[in-house]
């Protein structure tokens, strides 16, 4: 699970690198006039959407999504754990819904980008892939917690 998280970070980093390359291409083509590359804006936007969804998946593995715990942190331990599990289940439910409906969009989209012959569904595919990976990440975070809870109960009866 940790390896997958690191792998995702690298993928997000690589996608960002590709995005930068396209950005540089756009700036050079526009200001030097040496060449005309019509597809840079659409490809850059596509890459950006992928950076965000893959990066957000990596953030689930690292637990680095922005959240506020100033209230929960003050609760007694069993209550905190209970709320934590409920929250995780809620997030999982939302992600399942997201994967399902994003897949529906991917299946029904037939239009292509204006400047390149590429289907627009690849934009929405990022949501399917990203959310599925986030689900995996949640599972990875939840399993040791459940196991740990049992372990504690076992050692302190």
């Amino acid at each position: 699970m940790r390896t997958l998280g690191v792998l995702l970070e690298w993928m997000a980093g690589l996608l960002l690198f590709a995005l930068l390359a396209v950005g540089v291409l756009q700036v050079t083509s526009r200001y030097t006039g040496l060449m005309f590359v019509p597809w840079t804006e659409e490809v850059a936007r596509l890459l950006f959407v992928w950076v965000v969804w893959i990066g957000a998946a990596a953030a689930v593995f690292r637990g680095s999504h922005i959240r506020f715990d100033f209230l929960v942190a003050r609760l007694p331990q069993p209550m905190k754990a209970g709320i934590g599990t409920l929250v995780t289940l809620g997030v999982a439910g939302f992600l399942i819904l997201l994967v399902y409906h994003a897949y529906e969009i991917v299946r029904s989209t037939s239009s292509t980008f204006i400047t390149i012959n590429l289907s627009v569904k690849y934009t929405y595919l990022s949501v399917v892939v990203g959310s599925s990976l986030m689900l995996l990440g949640l599972l990875g975070a939840l399993l040791p917690r459940l196991r740990g809870a049992q372990g504690r109960r076992g050692s302190h009866p």
Binding site: E9, L20, Q26, F48, A59, L71, L98
Partner: protein, 429 residues
Amino acid sequence: MSLGILFGTFFLLLLAGMPVVFAMGLASAAFLVVIGGGIPLTVIPHQMVAGIDNFPLLAIPFFFLAGELMNAAGITQRLVAFATAVVGHIRGGLAYVVIVTNVVMAGFSGTALADASATGSVLIPAMKRQGYHAEFSAAITAAAATIGPIIPPSIPMIIYAVVAEVSVGSLFLAGVIPGLLMGTYLFAVVYLISRRRGYPVQARSTWRELVTATRRASWALMAPVIILGGIVTGVVTPTEAGVLAVIYSLAVGFGVHRELKVPDLPGIFCRTAVGTAVIMIIVGASGVMGWLVANMRIGETVVSGVTALTQSPWMILLLMNLFFLIVGCLMDPLAGMLIFIPVFMPLIKHVHIDPVHFGLVVVLNLMIGLLTPPVGYLLFMSAEMAEVSIDAVIREVTPLLIALLAVLAISTYWPSMVMLIPNLFQGLK
């Protein structure tokens, strides 16, 4: 009470500790399921992509990246040395150095937290060594870092501009004078505190030292000029300015300072990608909420509700300030902006407040919110760097906070000051 369901669920989930992005998504989903009126749930992934898939937003990863690269290129140390040569000899010298470094850094960095960690990691230990109170060092680091997103480039401003549909360039320019004003006001407070406490001074640098420090920092000092110049003259769009900033920092890091190494790059790219994603995914999720807010005509309800009480832009600006100060205390600034801008935008337009001016006011409010508990990231961060309690930093940050509130008041009620530079360069574009 459709509004209650949407926002009530959202805040409940937030308080339970659910990450902002999922709380937004789940609240929107719950709303659609309960009172959707036949709106298909595909609207959620649709809007979550539409909120991100927007060309001006691409400036965000680029400016993020430029900031990280410049820091790795050793720009922070050079700026600190430059600022020390210029203002170090005044009583409380290092506190002024913190402010000057932040003002310059604000010209190529777009986030307050990155600035605080860059300057704090160098200057907090130095201040403590010289006998400044640790809690004061933390407080000035935190307060000065709020200048970062006011002087362009600015990540919160890009997001506001996209949500409120105003020009990123104009909003950037609107931040220049208020940002410099913040620096000036903080100077004044540091002056008073340093005199009373007898804080140390640095030896006055000779002309030769000043010239050397300036030359060594010249590449860092040029960066804001290039970025701002490009945007001001309309030669480049903010997104392209972001690309140029990255190229510039790579050139300086590898070519001039030679402190950036190829093995540093993967870490910087991965960190920037995940950091951008964490912010942008919230922007995406807020797209769903914003869409619902627009569709349910919540903005119109707010217009009729508020205008029944008062029609005066003066009063409405006061109310907005109070509201966003509270939001800034309780919430992440970005989340607060993304949720409430769609709600209030119709009201702002209805009473003819300039949306660019309003954007500056909102971002300034939310930056001040970074200095107030319970959700004051800058407080936590600087307290940790200085190894002091948050309560002690809160005490020390209070006079600085008052100075920043004064700038907020001036910027709110003197729109022609804020809009001077944007209006000046309107013709150039």
